[in-house]
């Protein structure tokens, strides 16, 4: 979808929420839901940061690390991609304490979702690095750069552009996964929805609002990433060899 359409959708959803807020059946729920949305946003942002860090580290480990590191990176990637996000959250929440490590639910949420998405991100970072033309490595070698210098100055800046669209999708996945933290006692947006629904049984107004709020958050991520992509691509397009 074009960025214009996305912006139209964003504005329309915000207007729709604002309009619904003027009606009694809806206005009742909005403050509580927005409170939940703040927690959802916090977990999303922190989770995304952790995911990016884990993805870059494990992709580099897998590509260039010594054997043990490569092995460790592979293990991490396979485990977190191969089991499901909820299982990982429950494991951190219920099982880890039995090994004497009790984390706050909030920490479990950020850690679980960040590690989960980071494993998927690792493959996207790896793919982007490998998509940089071989000639770039060779030119950097001919200039006698060290491997670290090549990566940092030549390869990663070019891989960065290729990484943005898949990361956009992963950030959306992470946002959506935050709903799972409602199952480990955190009062995020999904938890509030569930709680209000149980007490009032006004399913349609509550869930309409909740879906709209999630949509707004997703659109913000998508639009943000598109803008970032356009900016980054402009820098590189000027530089792309004809």
């Amino acid at each position: 979808m074009g960025i214009r359409t996305l912006i139209v959708m964003l504005v329309a959803s915000i207007l729709l929420i604002a309009y619904l807020a003027t009606r009694d059946t809806y206005s009742l729920f909005l403050p509580g839901l927005l409170q939940g949305a703040v927690l959802t946003a916090e977990i999303t942002v922190l989770g995304c940061l952790l995911a990016v860090a884990m993805a870059v580290l494990s992709a580099l480990g897998k590509l260039y690390g010594p054997a043990p590191l490569r092995w460790l990176a592979n293990l991490y990637i396979e485990i977190f991609r191969g089991t499901s996000a909820l299982v990982q959250l429950f494991w951190l929440f219920f099982v880890l304490p039995q090994f004497g490590v009790s984390l706050e639910p909030f920490a479990v949420a950020v850690l679980g979702l960040g590690l989960n998405i980071g494993a998927y991100g690792a493959e996207c970072v790896r793919g982007a690095i490998q998509s940089v033309a071989r000639g770039q490595w060779e030119a950097a070698t001919a200039l006698n750069m060290t491997r670290l210098q090549m990566l940092r100055r030549i390869i990663l800046p070019q891989a960065f552009v290729a990484m943005i669209p898949p990361w956009g999708n992963l950030f959306i996945e992470l946002l959506k996964s935050t709903a799972l933290v409602s199952l480990i006692t955190l009062s995020d947006l999904a938890f509030k929805a569930q709680q209000m629904n149980q007490t009032t049984m006004k399913t349609i107004p509550i869930f309409t609002l909740v879906l709209l709020i999630y949509l707004v958050l997703s659109l913000l991520i998508t639009i943000g990433m598109r803008l970032l992509e356009q900016r980054a691509a402009k820098g590189l397009a000027r530089g792309r060899t004809a």
């Binding site: 191969g82 089991t83 996000a85 090994f99 929805a193 949509l215």
Partner: protein, 218 residues
């Protein structure tokens, strides 16, 4: 730390639950693949639906599956229809992944060069024949592995059905945990089961990909 006797004791219960998880996966996926195809074909056949469908798809894909599960489960009773949790869960899984599948089909059809349609028109093939003999065979190789990946993704989301108390693997593991106060074995076993299934399916998908891309030399 790890109690093997307990592990073996709960294994049959978990195995039974695994069957439920797999059932939900297969039913959900059949629904997703079919509904996705309907959406993709409608977009092509009835041009004015393209925009509303893409908004719908975007809407479904940008909101959490868990919310969609809750919504379906709780909204039907307000229309006087009661759905049991399993049905509501499968419906939600199916609809959520139909949005993803429809994009897979769309990409598959879009990938076919215009020249193929034009050549078919030049040969005076009917639209149906064109679709059956020219388009579908070329669209399938990229579609199948992508659908396969979504099948695995859908399978990994079945634990969400535990939120509406469907007795699939995760819910069963949690019940065992709350009854025995031992979470280590049941939850770890569930994780290992998913890991094993994912690795096996990934191997299958790679094999299918190789098979489909093995085209005769021209």
């Amino acid at each position: 730390m790890w109690d093997w006797a307990f592990t073996f004791e709960i294994l049959p219960t978990l195995a039974k639950a695994a069957v439920i998880s797999i059932e939900a996966t297969l039913l959900g996926f059949v629904l997703a693949a079919t509904l996705g195809l309907v959406l993709a074909l409608t977009r092509i056949a009835v041009p004015w639906t393209a925009w509303p469908i893409s908004v719908l798809v975007e809407l479904i894909r940008s909101t959490p599956l868990l919310i969609q599960i809750f919504f379906l489960y709780f909204v039907f009773p307000s229309f006087g229809v009661t759905l049991d949790a399993f049905t509501a869960g499968v419906l939600a899984l199916g609809i959520h992944y139909a949005a993803y599948c429809s994009e897979v089909y769309r990409a598959g059809f879009d990938n076919i060069p215009r020249g193929q349609w034009e050549a078919s028109i030049a040969l005076n093939l009917s639209p149906w024949t064109t679709f059956r003999d020219i388009i579908i065979p070329q669209a399938i190789p990229p579609i199948v592995p992508a659908l396969g990946n979504y099948l695995v993704a859908l399978f990994k989301e079945t634990p969400l059905l535990s939120a509406i108390a469907v007795l699939e693997l995760m819910q069963t593991a949690k019940i065992i945990g709350s009854e025995t106060f031992r979470y280590t074995e049941p939850i770890t076993m569930v994780g290992l089961f998913f890991l094993a299934m994912s690795l096996v399916s990934a191997a299958f998908i790679r094999a299918a990909e190789r098979l489909l891309n093995r085209r005769p030399a021209r």
